[in-house]
């Protein structure tokens, strides 16, 4: 590479890699290839059939365009229901998250309560909202109630975890100072704890509201209300152009929600 290299110096030079040694890099890529081979051969995909089915796939894709908004009242109803589920679930979630968050804060709650609350949070976070939705659908039947409960539960878990972390990361100094003036417990909470925690919590709430809007579109697929149900029905009826209309609406709604959420959270700074 170098014009000035003297002839007895090593003429090759290898660039360093992220993996430290060439060996590790080779091993990594080797593993990747082995994995690809293994997974693609053991997975339940009939590649021959898939290739043969390509024309049909193309046909369906073309049938999705242009999107058909003829049945827009159905669309609007479904979308509104999703929005309502998202908002209502956020509120219930906020209310439930406050005791949960306080119990899950190591510097506030007694040990057994803390462990129980944290355990609940770990379990609650693991499962996809669709799984939770199915449960609630089984318990409460089809419709937006199941959706509301699903997202309220998920929101409470998420917001509770955030609240607990904020409380744990709180500065103790101002709390001690306010306590030293002779203030009561609730005055300490309002004057020293809340200002530290409030702005971040508001931001997190807005974020969750946006997330709930996304999730509310999905849980309808399993019957928990909202536009997901409309979408699922349209696919099973092969109304592909209506499906794409719905998809576009969902995308627009979600993008709008995210933009709104970013804007509010920026203003809160």
């Amino acid at each position: 590479m170098s014009v000035l290299a003297s002839s007895d110096r090593a003429a090759t030079w290898r660039p360093p890699t992220l993996f430290g040694t060439r060996l590790k890099r080779a091993v990594f890529w080797g593993c990747v290839i082995v994995y690809l081979v293994w997974s693609l051969t053991t997975i339940d995909i009939d590649f021959a059939r898939a290739v043969a089915g390509l024309p049909r796939a193309l046909d369906i894709i073309t049938r999705m365009f242009p999107p058909n908004f003829e049945r827009w009242p159905l669309l609007v109803t479904g979308m509104l229901e999703s929005v309502q589920i998202a908002i209502a679930a956020s509120i219930v979630g906020i209310v439930l998250s406050i005791p949960l968050g306080i119990c899950a804060a190591r510097n506030l709650a007694p040990k057994p309560l803390y462990l129980a609350a944290r355990g609940l949070i770990v379990v609650g976070r693991t499962f996809h909202e669709v799984v939770i939705a199915i449960f609630f659908v089984k318990l409460f039947g089809f419709g937006p109630i199941a959706g509301l409960l699903t997202l309220a539960f998920a929101s409470a878990i998420f917001l509770g975890k955030m609240l607990a972390e904020d409380i744990e990361n709180m500065k103790e100094g101002p709390v001690e100072a306010v306590r030293a003036t002779g203030a009561s417990f609730w005055q300490v909470v309002f004057y020293a704890v809340t200002p530290q925690v409030l702005v971040k919590t508001l931001g997190v709430i807005i974020y969750r509201l946006d997330a709930n809007l996304r999730h509310s579109t999905v849980i309808g697929i399993v019957g928990a209300g909202g536009i997901g149900q409309t979408l699922s029905a349209s696919f099973s009826r092969y109304d592909f152009d209506f499906s794409s209309a719905i998809l576009l609406t969902i995308a627009a709604m979600v993008a709008l929600g995210e933009w709104f959420s970013d804007w509010v959270r920026r203003k809160l700074r």
């Binding site: 003036t181 203030a183 020293a192």
Partner: protein
């Protein structure tokens, strides 16, 4: 507080006749780890004065100060603030007693997102009901006092600034104003200048001295900078291993006394650049 025998009643009357501003009797603090932080400390303040407490880290200075308003719970002993034993008070009584003691902290401990005025007013929280304090409905004389205090500490016009927009010296002044809002009978200062540069440290110490004289309120100051203590205190207390080993005017703080307080090897006169090492 239970009924008292005749003897106890006589004792109480006798003490009342001789009420001190602050009297600490046989104060002991043993931490759960077994560390004996305070061993039978006895201490009296009988007039408004600036008392500086010096000693090496772990000697018990901070524990002592925090026991006085029970931010740290004493293991045994009595602390009489104008005759009333703080140690025996229940939660409600303790809160009432804390109102009478103003505390100023090394890290200022202001609520950073709140404005200067909100921080100063929080000194009156012990006197204002919950609902009113949430609505910031403080009595007009409190507001007037707050403005006056801000002027006195040199922060006129700063009332609507956020606390985290202030410099260290300014924040400490807000802390002082907050403590004075309580109209306390006693001021406690825990390393108030440890986080400040030398010039600001001197300004703050001067301010505290002036306020002690104006308001006739005694102040106990934990301080690690011996030169600063000598320059501004009326009286110096030296702690070593949980005991008071020096209690006299600054003029009598000889090198021999310092060796007693800090231990020969540890005694290291700080260069006059005010190293901000906490205790």
């Amino acid at each position: 507080m239970g009924h008292m025998s005749t003897q106890e009643q006589v004792q109480k009357l006798a003490m009342k006749a001789q009420r001190q501003l602050l009297e600490v009797q046989n104060l002991v603090k043993v931490y759960k780890t077994g560390k004996r932080a305070l061993q039978e400390v006895n201490f009296i303040i009988d007039r408004p004065q600036v008392v500086a407490i010096i000693g090496s880290s772990g000697a018990g200075k901070s524990t002592f100060i925090r026991c006085i308003n029970r931010l740290v719970e004493p293991t045994s002993g009595r602390i009489l603030l104008n005759g009333e034993d703080i140690v025996s008070l229940d939660r409600k009584g303790l809160r009432a007693a804390r109102r009478r003691v103003g505390m100023i902290f090394q890290e200022y401990n202001l609520v950073e997102r709140l404005t200067v005025m909100q921080n100063v007013l929080s000194g009156r929280l012990g006197y204002v009901g919950l609902l009113n304090s949430i609505r910031y409905k403080f009595p007009p004389e409190d507001i007037r006092a707050a403005f006056e205090l801000l002027d006195r500490v040199g922060l006129k016009g700063y009332e609507n600034r956020r606390a985290d927009a202030l410099s260290g010296g300014q924040r400490q002044r807000v802390g002082i104003a907050r403590a004075l809002m309580q109209r306390p009978e006693l001021l406690l200062l825990d390393e108030p200048t440890a986080s400040l540069d030398p010039k600001t440290s001197r300004q703050i110490m001067r301010l505290v001295g002036e306020l002690v004289n104006e308001r006739k309120t005694p102040a106990i100051i934990n301080i690690h900078d011996v030169a600063l203590a000598k320059a501004h205190a009326d009286r110096i207390i030296g702690f070593n291993d949980g005991r008071i080993v020096f209690d006299d005017v600054p003029a009598n703080l000889t090198d021999e006394a310092l060796a007693r307080i800090y231990g020969d090897e540890d005694w290291n006169p700080p260069a006059d650049d005010g190293e901000a090492t906490g205790s």
